[in-house]
Symmetry: C2
Subunit: 131 residues, 2 copies
C-alpha cells in the first residue's frame, strides 16, 4: 500500500498559555516547522481572535501545516500534511511541541490516499499514534 500523503494530527494539551496567544510568534514557529520538515513554503494566513485564540495555515509545496489555539484551555490543534518522500513531518511536529511548551502531546498519523500496490484500488487503514 502506497500512501500519497502523510497527515499528522497533533492534539497538544498543557501548552504555554501566553505563547499560544501570540500570533506573530505562532506564524514564525509554524513557518520554522515547515522548513524543519524540509518543505517549501508557498504562503501563509494567520488570524488572531478576540478575546483570545489564533488560527493559521502555512501552505507548502508538499501540502500544508495548520494551527488553532485555545489559550483558555492551554490547548492547540495542529495538522502537518505532507506528500512525497522528501519531507519529514515528524520533525515539524517535534518543533511545534517544543516551542509551544506542550507537556501532553498526542500525535496521530493518518495515511492519505492509500493506493494498492497494483495501482488498481485504494484502501484506508486506522490512524496510528507515532509519538
Amino acid at each position: 500500500m502506497n500512501a500519497l500523503g502523510k497527515h499528522l494530527v497533533l492534539e497538544l494539551k498543557d501548552c504555554n498559555k501566553e505563547v499560544i496567544n501570540d500570533v506573530n510568534f505562532l506564524r514564525d514557529i509554524v513557518i520554522s516547522a515547515a522548513k524543519e520538515a524540509g518543505a517549501t513554503v508557498l504562503g501563509e494566513s494567520f488570524h488572531r481572535f478576540e478575546p483570545h485564540g489564533v488560527s493559521g495555515v502555512v501552505i507548502i509545496a508538499e501540502s500544508y501545516l495548520s494551527i488553532h489555539t485555545w489559550p483558555e484551555y492551554s490547548y492547540v490543534a495542529a495538522d502537518v500534511f505532507t506528500c512525497g518522500d522528501s519531507c519529514c513531518p515528524e520533525a515539524a511536529a517535534q518543533l511545534l511541541i517544543r516551542e509551544l511548551g506542550c507537556k501532553s502531546p498526542g500525535v496521530f498519523e493518518l495515511k492519505r490516499g492509500l493506493l494498492a500496490t497494483n495501482g488498481e484500488e485504494y484502501g484506508n487503514r486506522p490512524a496510528q499514534m507515532v509519538i
Copy 2:
C-alpha cells in the same frame, strides 16, 4: 465530553479528473463549501502544480478547509475543520463530493480538543465514519 472542534477528513476517490485539475474551479467550490457550512471566510491560498495537481486552503473564522488533488489518480484529499456550534461541516463535505464528481467518497470525523465534562482533563476517541 465536549469537543472544541469537529474535523472531517475526506478521502475522495473516483473524482472527475478534469475538474480536480482546475485551480479556479476548485477555489470557487471550496469557498462555496465554506459558505454552505455557514462559515465566515477570512482568506484563501491556492496553487496549481505541474504537470498536474492543486493544493488550496480557505481560512475561516471557525478554522479551515483544505484540498489537495491528484488528477492522475482521480483522488482528492480534503479536510473541513470547524469549531463552535454555528457551522455544519457536513454540508461543506456534501458540496465538495457533489461538485468534484466523486463516485467513492469516504468521510471520517475526528473530534479535536475533547474536554472532560468536569473541565479538568482531555481525552481522545477514535475517528467515526459519518458518510
